[in-house]
Amino acid sequence: MSNTTIVPFGPQHPVLPEPIHLDLELDDERVVRALPSIGYVHRGLELLAERYDFVEMANVAERICGICSFIHGQGYCQGIEQLMGVEIPPRAAYLRTVWAEISRIQSHVLWLGLAADALGYESLFQHSWRIREMMVDIIEETTGGRVIFGVCKVGGIRKDVDDETLRDVRRRIGEIRAAFDEIATIFRDDPTVRQRTVGVGLLSAADAHALGAVGPVLRASGVVHDTRRLGYAAYGELDWEPIVEQDGDCYARCLVRVREVDQSFDLITQCLDRMPAGEVEISVKGKRPKGEAMFRLEQPRGEVCYYISADGKKNLDRFRVRTPTFANIAPLIHMLKGCELADVPVIVLTIDPCVSCNER
């Protein structure tokens, strides 16, 4: 008979912001095996695509997730546009890129705060969220919403942002960047952070690749892969390189996100510098999506895949989303093997789980 104990972890747990359940098989304090179970917050959003008008559905798609809300809306619209063979105006593509990067920053900074909280570093958590708040203010100024942007529509953007607001955004991005640099140093150098994360939750490049890790988890293991390289929206015209770290531990995953925030500031500045003038939407009146499309986008948490199938009716036949968290659960289970029980919350957090969008 084995001498292991099973400890249930989640879906309600003080350190876990997301409802994921893990059965941890422990030998003393060491995890021998972890069994995940998901499905606590299923909402049936994919089914709505079969009932709603495809134009209205953009609003629902945005509500798949509260943090990557914009990118889900963008992904949905991009898929429908691809099916209809519509090319959106360049200004719309640039604005979409700016908003996508703004959401990446707020998502990563939010995560950094939660990670600090999981390490027991309350003050750093508060400072991270203070900076995120400044970012959310920019979202409110440019779109009108704080969580749900509501600006993406099939065929472009619903409402243009005037140049004066964009100048103001630019100025504020500079301020936020300076404020972020201060906390970035702490995440990089603070002994408390390092002690809890260096060498914890290792994932080798080969394992990351074999288990299908995506996003910062994959890049922190030294694999160069970023879906933005496909060049959708305006990414093809900007100068940037994917951020990669080699160590594959929690610290590397943290560093990747810290560096990605910096990169996103840079991408936003580039977009604002090159912002083309002109229309922000083209009319798709009378057009209906027809056919099948499968495409990928890079969310803050990694690669998201969409599948859309339509046959020229006003609602879609099938809409399917494979979110990055789902892809990162298998690598997570692998990382948990052999770790200490006290490190489990930190490791679970470093995949940046977003269970609500995972289950839709």
């Binding site: 009932r51 709603y52 209205e56 609003n59 629902v60 003050s123 750093l124 400072h127 203070r130 708040e133 409110e140 100024e141 440019t142 779109t143 009108g144 919403g145 749900i148 509501g150 619903r158 409402k159 201060e182 906390i183 140093t185 702490i186 150098d189 603070d190 002994p191 408390t192 002690q195």
Partner: protein, 129 residues
């Protein structure tokens, strides 16, 4: 390991001396941005009860009765998508940047052409789509 104050000490010192980053809500409020989606406002004068807004509203928050000449909105259902604002040809629906005041119950704000002030009644269960 020796206790290290680390790089956060400078930040902590500075923020202890600076004024707080938070506000004393609700006494002190930030002015909303021009674009902020606060709540839906309605002026009945120009409305011709065409029911377009009610049909377009994705959450069925608006109910319009042509015969009775009434227009009603359930603010607790409204998701502030702005579709009704864009689609009303008479321009009688606007998005105000101020947030909706808190409600004590789920109320429906209902306007009727002859009456001046809107009436309020507790919301009926939503209609299924």
């Amino acid at each position: 390991m020796s206790w290290s104050v680390g790089p956060i000490s400078a930040l902590v010192t500075r923020s202890a001396l600076a004024k707080p980053a938070t506000r004393l809500y609700p006494v002190e409020r930030r002015t909303p941005y021009a674009r902020t989606r606060g709540h839906i406002e309605f002026r009945i004068d120009d409305c011709n009860f065409c029911t377009i807004c009610a049909h377009k509203c994705p959450t069925l928050a608006i109910q319009v009765h042509k015969q009775d000449k009434t227009w009603a909105i359930d603010h607790s259902r409204c998701i502030l998508c702005g579709i009704c604002v864009e689609d009303c040809r008479e321009g009688c629906i606007t998005l105000s940047p101020l947030p909706c005041p808190p409600m004590r119950a789920k109320e429906v704000l209902s306007f009727r052409q002859e009456h001046e002030a809107p009436t309020v009644k507790v919301a009926a269960p939503a209609i299924e789509r």
